[in-house]
């Protein structure tokens, strides 16, 4: 009997996977609705080194006083490339400070990536061990957090920012926060 059960395992595993696939196809799926435990909480404490020596790094203490968008990215991440042009446009928004945290990325790779695609970030910090990302609860890159003047996380985007998210959610929220 046990022997028979082992032979059933593959088909059961496949049934589970097929179920996930089915859900993945659901048309009403909205990937931008991310319940995050971190919303409205202060940003976790962190103090990260800068990409280039001599430039400022990024500390949680420095986030107060202006609205900041922190973008986790990496040179090995394909969706980040897709998101990048939008970040370059977003960087022109004077109400907002756009900071980047390079997640598990060698400094030279990050530098090459930004040299190739352009650098939208006011500050670029390195999170090579990925500890700060864990504190934020980052699922994977790219991922972005909007932080208000009091240093609280107000919005989280898992996956690349899109035109719709920026216009429909991010900009109204920035307008509200900078009132």
């Amino acid at each position: 009997m046990m022997r028979r059960l082992i032979y059933l395992l593959p088909v059961l595993a496949f049934a589970g996977i097929a179920g996930w696939f089915w859900q993945g196809l659901a048309p009403e799926r909205d990937p931008t609705l991310v319940p995050s435990a971190m919303i409205d909480k202060p940003v976790p404490e962190f103090d990260l080194p800068p990409l280039e020596a001599g430039k400022p790094g990024l500390k949680s203490a420095e986030l107060k006083g202006q609205v900041t968008l922190i973008n986790f990215f990496a040179s090995w991440c394909v969706p980040c490339r897709a998101e990048h042009p939008l970040l370059l446009t977003l960087a022109k928004d004077k109400r907002l400070q756009l900071d980047g945290i390079a997640y598990k990325n060698k400094p030279e790779d990050t530098a090459a990536y930004l040299a190739e695609l352009g650098n939208p970030y006011a500050r670029v910090a390195l999170d090579q061990p990925g500890r700060t990302a864990i504190d934020f609860g980052v699922y994977g890159v790219p991922e972005s957090y909007l932080i208000d003047r009091d240093g609280r996380i107000r919005f989280r985007q898992v996956g690349p920012l899109t035109e719709d998210v920026i216009e429909g959610k991010l900009k109204p929220l920035i307008a509200e926060l900078t009132k």
């Binding site: 593959p10 097929a18 991310v34 090995w76 991440c77 040299a115 190739e116 994977g140 898992v158 690349p160």
Partner: protein, 655 residues
């Protein structure tokens, strides 16, 4: 008119596939030789129909018939002929037609060359093949008709995605599909064996050449895709752990496992259930790859324009084929006679470990590929786990696998003498130590992982060579004659293992010792990289057939002597409004000099990126050698001779 004829041929193929799927299967059940006999002509007719459809669509692309919707969307009259032709499979509909065409080629090959198969097994194999064709033909005709007309027809087409306008498109998709779809043969043989309720050494011998052919094509196709990405994406990388790359890599890992486990079935009559499962899984992973690329569930640089109804249709096919085969497996496999027990130190024991490691490696890649999807379903967006995940999970599994690949071939069946084998590996050990010292000395240090990579490459290469030398007793009298009598499969294994070693050295070199230089240069200025100095001679416009390009010219100088002129381009395709990068590459002293031209800085300077990629040419060389091993092994005499005794036995039963 020709287009309608092609469409009709495709419908006819569907009908033929239906007959081929049902009648021979019924015949095999009823033991009716006439009904079973229908399988072979049906397979031939199916190939003919699909080739007509393929030819009709090809004609529409060649003459730029923009009244065909797929042609209008993916082709343009200004495109060079080769890209108009290869454009056929540069999109969802056409690539599906290529998919079913290759499926039909394999089916017809079983019909034509399967004389040594027992008729009942052959009938069942062909019926399963036709069932697969049936699903995909229906999918194509109902959701993705490549022959759909457009009225009114546009004056010109929208152009093939410029990134695809590369010689790589001409041979990467066809070889990859030959591999992907070729695994359907192993699947069909597995399902037929489950229906038959018998798996034996003869079965393993019949299924192996098909798996080997698919594996060889897949190896070549993955290598070609990697080379394409390397020279066209302009990031100087050759593997990105992109979901679609993984979609081809998972079946490759599983097929590699299958190739090894089929040997155990053939020689020792053991691991039968496992081998059947692997055959199902290998094809299941190719189907899942197809699903991922075409349904839009995952974001990838390769993804086709997607459509949810297509996703649901493919998922239904997936559930029917994979789910059906696995249910059949759960039902019939327990009845297979279990094989003998293994001694832990033996050839079969080593092959079992090989299988466990390969399947675990495939599982880690599977998790990494699907984690973003699972997360997405659970409420996250599409994220990438990328390189760090794979370095942490995939490498620890693969490194011991490579180390064992050197030892395995020395072990004898049933019970091996480990101390004796290790004594024969002294030379390989010396090579491993030498390779890591050499790596350390040449690069003044270097990451530990790179030294380990170099050591493993040296270890595996020398072990493969000395195993071969030992088998042929190369350094004693009469070696030439023994070399000629050595089975081709032995040559194949040596080539494949040595090729793997060479490729690993290349991967190690490029990952660890790559140098890059990014700067702004004005024409006439120079910079240095890895002991070369390079000068940006000029930057100027060049006109292509359907693009405007900016071409830079670099001269590379070593020891005061000009050794290469590189001319990378940046191309702008006005119809598609897309820019592509054409890297220029020169191979020198086993390293690639790789140059890319970027944007102007507005002050007369240009951003240039130059890479020195040591050992990278070895990656492609190693992969080619592995594929060559597959070809050589395929020509082994035992596959042509087959197992005549058993075939005669089966025929006797039928009469």
């Amino acid at each position: 008119m020709i287009v309608e004829f092609g469409h009709f041929a495709l419908v006819l193929a569907l009908v033929v596939a239906f007959v081929q799927a049902v009648v021979p299967l019924w015949g095999a059940q009823q033991n009716d030789a006439r009904l079973m006999g229908l399988a072979r002509p049906a397979a031939m007719a199916q190939l003919l129909c699909i080739l007509i459809a393929f030819g009709a669509l090809m004609q529409a692309y060649i003459v730029s018939d923009f009244s065909v919707a797929a042609v209008a969307r993916n082709s343009n009259s200004l495109q060079p002929l080769i890209y108009r032709m290869a454009g056929l499979w540069g999109n969802h509909e056409g690539s599906l037609l290529l998919w079913v065409a290759i499926l039909a080629i394999y089916g017809a090959a079983v019909a034509a060359f399967g004389d040594n198969l027992p008729p009942r097994l052959q009938a069942r194999v062909l019926a399963v093949q036709a069932t697969i064709a049936l699903g995909f033909l229906a999918f194509m005709l109902f959701t993705s008709n490549p022959f759909a007309r457009l009225d009114p027809a546009p004056a010109d087409g929208a152009e093939l995605n410029p990134i695809l306008q590369d010689p790589g498109l001409a041979f990467h998709p066809p070889t990859l599909y030959l591999g992907y779809v070729g695994l359907s043969m192993a699947f069909s043989f597995a399902v037929a064996a489950l229906l038959e309720g018998r798996v034996d050494a003869a079965w393993a011998r019949w299924v192996r050449p098909w798996t080997l052919a698919a594996w060889t094509c897949l190896t070549f196709g993955i290598g070609a895709g990697s080379w394409w990405a390397y020279h066209t994406l302009g990031w100087g990388g050759w593997w990105f752990w992109d979901p679609v790359e993984n979609a081809s890599f998972m079946p490759w890992l599983t097929a590699t496992a299958l190739l090894h486990s089929a040997i155990v079935v053939e020689k020792r009559d053991a691991l039968k259930g496992w081998t059947i499962l692997l055959a199902i899984l290998a094809f299941a992973l190719s189907l899942i790859g197809t699903f991922l690329v075409r349904s839009g569930v995952i974001t990838s640089v390769h993804a086709f324009a997607s459509d949810p109804t297509r996703g649901v249709f493919i998922l239904a096919l997936l559930i029917f084929y994979i789910g059906g085969a696995l249910v059949l497996f759960a039902w019939r496999a327990p009845a297979l006679k279990p094989g003998g027990l293994f001694a832990p130190v033996s050839r079969e024991g080593a092959l079992l470990i090989n299988n466990l490691l390969l399947v675990s490696a495939a599982a880690t890649v599977f998790l990494g590929t699907l984690y973003p999807l699972f997360l997405d379903v659970a409420g996250g967006g599409s994220v990438s786990v990328g390189g760090p995940y794979y370095n942490a999970t995939f490498l620890p599994i693969v490194l011991p696998l490579i180390a064992l690949a050197a030892i395995g071939p020395f072990l004898s069946w049933k019970r091996a003498d480990l101390p004796g084998v290790l004594a024969r590996l002294k030379l390989a050990l010396a090579a491993a130590i030498l390779a890591s010292i050499l790596g350390w000395w040449l690069n003044r240090g270097g990451p530990l992982l790179a030294l380990l990579g170099a050591a493993l490459a040296g270890w595996l290469f020398v072990a493969a060579a000395s195993e071969f030398a030992g088998r042929a007793r190369l350094f004693t009298a009469g070696a030439l004659g023994r070399l000629r009598r050595l089975p081709r499969a032995a040559y194949g294994m040596t080539f494949a293992h040595a090729g793997l070693a060479i490729a690993i050295l290349g991967m190690t070199g490029s990952s660890a010792w790559k140098q890059e230089d990014i700067r702004v240069l004005r024409p006439g200025e120079s910079a240095t990289i890895a002991g070369y100095s390079y000068r940006l001679d000029s930057v100027g416009p060049v006109e292509g057939p359907n693009y405007h390009a900016t071409r830079a010219q670099f001269t590379f100088i070593r020891d005061g002597e000009a050794i290469a002129v590189l001319t990378p381009e940046k191309r702008f395709y006005p119809v598609a409004a897309t820019t592509t990068t054409q890297a220029a590459i020169h191979v020198s002293r086993l390293a690639d000099l790789y140059a890319v031209i970027g944007e102007p800085d507005g002050k007369g300077g240009w951003t240039v990126r130059v890479y020195h990629e040591p050992l990278v040419p070895l990656i492609w060389g190693g992969i080619l050698l592995m594929a060559a091993g597959g070809v050589v092994s395929l020509s082994d005499r035992r596959y042509r001779v087959g197992a005549p005794l058993r075939a005669r036995g089966a025929e006797a039963v039928l009469r």
